[in-house]
Symmetry: C2
Subunit: 206 residues, 2 copies
DNA sequence: GTCTATACGACGATAGAC
DNA sequence: GTCTATCGTCGTATAGAC
């Protein structure tokens, strides 16, 4: 009960929580919310299933918590890109790089979870609306960069938000593709941005 | 037991099977395999849950059957595109149109199922390998069209299979996006093909 | 803080009546 | 061909020992 011990305990608690959360992200991502069992999550972290409830109140609560955390990180990333001292093209390149890197697999798990949360049915309406709102903030942030790029003349014309949607569709589609194969598969930022750039297809204009 | 009656029975049987299969596709797509309950499938078709097992031997069997059927249809579509008397660009336009139309929602459900099958974990290895092989046939078919288009000078340079992957990533990403929103959202074939076409971004070359 | 044992509910699948 | 009733299993969540 000395302060010293309490700190030790807190350290262990935090570590276990993080291990379980990390494991949960992977299991949710690979199996989906319904199919990912508590025992999958705990055993992947080499802990007993009973311990799960020492750290979280329910599977669903953890799921929601994790999704929101991931989305918050993604929004932060987009905002970070917006604040860079770079051209809009440079910002998009930085953002695309950052999205597709980040210890590879880990990042893929997290993004797949975003997709699951957006496209599946097991969340109740209020939570789902909140998720969608968070996602929209990310889209808006990207749209801002694109709009800027249009003014600079680097990007093609069109509704910025729609273009942002197309960009994310491609980026997410490629993330999924990458998740499926064991081979690393090189993801070229340039190729992802190809569809945005103005007459930029390899500079093959005439 | 007269022939007449047998025909009637067969007709009913076929109809019920189709209703259940249709319902299953929607439920699997919206909820995922694990979360889609037998009772969800049957009640959505206004039938009792017991009846399910009169028509199918198990949930998993139906799931696999449905996935393979959908993939076979997709492959057929791609091959059909390949055989058209059109330019490669015309073929891609036709294919993209066909993929994104088809009673809208129905088509979306089916494509989401493809994604689920490819990216989830609940299929055993042999089945999964078969699914992947089927999908590869579709990708190859698209790559063939793209290669043709490169020779005609309509499409940008690059490995055809990789470009096909990018194309499908975008197409799938947009399908998902469309699945999420209640609003119809216009999907422009031209915009989807934008990333493939050579210096074709609105014809803004100089 | 971590574990094992157990209560309880849900769902896939079957049996049998109509 | 369709339904309701039921079994058996599995998974979430809890209780309590260490």
């Amino acid at each position: 009960m000395t302060p010293k011990n309490e700190e030790q305990f807190k350290k262990i608690r935090d570590q276990r929580q993080q291990e379980l959360r990390r494991s949960a992200i992977q299991m949710f991502s690979q199996k989906g919310f319904a199919a990912a069992k508590i025992s999958d999550i705990t055993s992947h972290a080499n802990l007993s299933h009973g311990l799960f409830y020492h750290y979280f109140t329910s599977k669903e609560e953890l799921y929601i918590e994790v999704i929101q955390e991931i989305l918050a990180d993604f929004i932060e990333l987009v905002e970070e890109a917006n604040e860079l001292q770079k051209s809009s093209l440079g910002k998009m390149e930085w953002l695309t790089d950052a999205t597709h890197s980040g210890s590879i697999r880990e990042g893929v798990y997290r993004h797949i979870l975003i997709l699951q949360a957006l496209y599946s049915d097991h969340l109740n309406e209020p939570v789902k609306l909140e998720i969608v709102a968070l996602y929209k903030r990310a889209v808006d942030g990207i749209a801002t960069i694109i709009q800027e790029g249009q003014q600079e003349g680097h990007f093609i014309e069109g509704d910025p938000e729609e273009l942002a949607t197309y960009h994310l569709a491609l980026a997410h589609g490629l993330l999924l593709w990458n998740a499926r194969t064991d081979s690393p598969i090189e993801l070229s930022t340039e190729k992802v941005l190809r569809q945005l750039k103005r007459s930029g297809n390899g500079g093959m204009c005439q």
